[in-house]
């Protein structure tokens, strides 16, 4: 189980990191082609946008793992241990609800675009493929919140430090 978790985190990191850095490199390639080789590539802008968005959206769940999503702690800090536990359950369940809605309508959006056969403006990628990141990121995010819920039920401390940067 522990190994599986580690592998899962590794896959999250590697997939998000690859998309993210490829997108950034692609923009750099575009700049180089335009200014140094005088050969502008029109498709670079659109493609790099999609690739970076894929990378960052895959990062929603990573940012949860590192507790980077900002929360307000004023009430929480004043509560007793039981109060905190109740709040932890509450916020995790609310977040699971959000991920559910986001993923569900992400799936309907993708299937609508699949049947409408819409293409992206510059490169002509089918939009359903581009939008696939919505249900994917929603599911990954959902898994991390469920992991948090399980930790809570098992009585493990699901809290990390305050977000830095």
């Amino acid at each position: 189980m522990k190994k599986l978790k580690k592998l899962w985190s590794f896959l999250e990191d590697v997939s998000a990191g690859t998309f993210f850095f490829t997108g950034i490199t692609l923009i750099f390639y575009g700049v180089m082609m335009r200014y140094i080789f005088n050969d502008p590539k029109a498709w670079v802008e659109e493609l790099s946008r999609y690739i970076i968005i894929w990378g960052v959206f895959l990062g929603f769940s990573i940012a949860l793992r590192y507790n980077h999503h900002i929360q307000v702690d004023i009430l929480y800090d004043k509560l007793s241990a039981t109060g905190r536990r109740i709040l932890d359950y509450f916020s995790t369940i609310i977040s699971i609800l959000f991920c559910g809605i986001y993923t569900y309508y992400g799936v309907t959006l993708v299937s609508n675009r699949y049947y409408s056969k819409m293409l992206s403006l510059d490169v002509g990628i089918p939009m359903w493929i581009v939008y696939l990141i919505l249900p994917i990121s929603g599911l990954l995010f959902l898994f991390r919140f469920i992991e948090r819920l399980i930790k809570l039920i098992r009585g493990k401390d699901a809290n990390y430090d305050n977000p830095i940067t």
């Binding site: 990191g17 850095f21 997108g23 700049v31 999609y50 940012a63 004023i74 919505l134 305050n162 977000p163």
Partner: protein
């Protein structure tokens, strides 16, 4: 409806649901009550971010993380120390100047406070500076990160208000230098009053050696601002150029970057970008509701009817920003309020670039006002001290920054002079 939505949002937020999720879920709940095509909810998260200028955010985030790890902050501080370390309050001045220069590479305040604070907090405390004062100084000087370009809030402002991001960046320079100067003067006075020791005066040989080492990193702000100012490249492209320049300098000149550093650098950049992007998506969904319900028009009409003048409006807005800044961070405040404010700003004939700088200084205050202030969290994390003692240290700086805010508000030329020359 809007009252219900906002109450729901604040309720969820105080119950410790992540801010982005509180905002999207309360908007979704209200949208469900109306006749709304629900497919648009996730789509909105995508389209809100699907613009090339938006890609400057991950770009500058990556550049900042890379350079903080690649040794640039270390060499920069070292060089500054040889130049001003020996004056009264020398180390405090080094800290402020280092934050100011790092701010010209990074677009984020917490990142600036973290990069400089992790080195300067121990150094200043060892040299006998009061710890509360040191922590307050780093938290406050770190906020320069969003005023001195590049700046993530200014990128978001530019996209929302459809203003040129390059011009907004230029507008931040003079107010940023002004705030730096005011902080430096206050630090010198504070040091004289408390008799803080001076550092040893460095020899010319040491100055030359450390400056030559720092010059590679110090060239980066010139590269970023120069390329944007001259209009050769867009801010997004300049961010990416900064990333690759940074990689070359850190790997081949400073030799501080190794293969094993790559994963943590990229993952940290993704963490920060994902946090910001999720908030942008959520706030954009909220904006969609505002537009559908015609809230900006209603508030605009109400203001036009009342006999409020420009200055009462500005004062009310500043107070509102200050209060919001206590609880929310910059990106959410800009995206929640700007769509509502735009028609009013045009009605009062307030220059949108000037207003961007007023807003940014307010956002800086938001980073150091409790209970939610990202720079306070960062500094308390680095110094391993309670949030409360950081807050006590930062209070005098809040007053200093309010004074600078008033000056910038009264003299639009400070922000407009340079941006008009672009």
């Amino acid at each position: 409806m809007i009252i219900l939505l906002l109450s729901l949002f604040f309720l969820l937020m105080f119950l410790r649901v992540p801010i982005a999720i509180s905002l999207s879920l309360s908007t979704i709940m209200i949208l469900m009550l109306t006749d709304f095509n629900m497919d648009m909810i996730p789509q909105r998260f995508f389209t809100a971010l699907d613009s090339f200028p938006m890609m400057a955010i991950p770009g500058f985030v990556l550049a900042g993380v890379l350079l903080a790890r690649g040794g640039i902050s270390k060499y920069l501080i070292e060089a500054l120390r040889t130049w001003v370390g020996h004056i009264s309050g020398g180390l405090a001045v080094v800290t402020i100047l280092a934050c100011s220069i790092f701010a010209a590479i990074s677009g984020s305040s917490p990142a600036t406070a973290a990069a400089i604070g992790s080195i300067m907090i121990p150094a200043m405390v060892n040299a006998g500076y009061d710890k509360k004062y040191t922590m307050g100084l780093i938290a406050a000087a770190g906020t320069l990160g969003i005023l001195i370009p590049p700046s993530i809030p200014l990128i978001i402002y530019g996209i929302t208000a459809e203003e040129s991001i390059g011009k907004l960046f230029m507008a931040g320079i003079i107010p940023g230098v002004l705030l730096t100067g005011v902080l430096v003067v206050s630090a010198i006075f504070h040091a004289r009053k408390n008799g803080y020791g001076r550092g040893e005066k460095a020899t010319w040989h040491e100055r030359r050696k450390s400056s030559l080492k720092a010059i590679w990193g110090g060239f980066l702000p010139i590269l970023i601002l120069g390329t944007i100012y001259s209009g050769i490249v867009t801010p997004t492209e300049s961010a990416v150029i900064a990333v690759f320049y940074g990689i070359i300098v850190s790997v081949f000149i400073y030799r501080e970057l190794h293969w094993r550093d790559i994963r943590p650098i990229i993952i940290e950049s993704i963490n920060i970008s994902a946090m910001i992007f999720l908030i942008i998506g959520a706030a954009s969904l909220f904006g969609l509701y505002l537009t559908n319900a015609q809230i900006p028009q209603q508030i605009g009409a109400w203001i036009a009817e009342s006999d409020m003048n420009k200055w009462t409006f500005l004062i009310i807005i500043n107070i509102m920003f200050f209060v919001m800044g206590m609880f929310l961070e910059a990106v959410s405040i800009i995206l929640i309020t700007l769509p509502i404010l735009l028609p009013i700003l045009i009605f009062f004939d307030i220059n949108l670039i000037h207003f961007a700088i007023i807003m940014t200084i307010n956002m800086e205050l938001g980073m150091i006002t409790p209970p939610v202030g990202l720079n306070l969290f960062v500094v308390s994390g680095i110094a391993k001290e309670k949030l409360g003692s950081v807050v006590r240290g930062v209070i005098p700086f809040i007053f200093i920054m309010i004074i600078v805010l008033i000056v910038v508000m009264l003299f639009p030329q400070l922000s407009l002079w340079l941006s008009d020359r672009m």
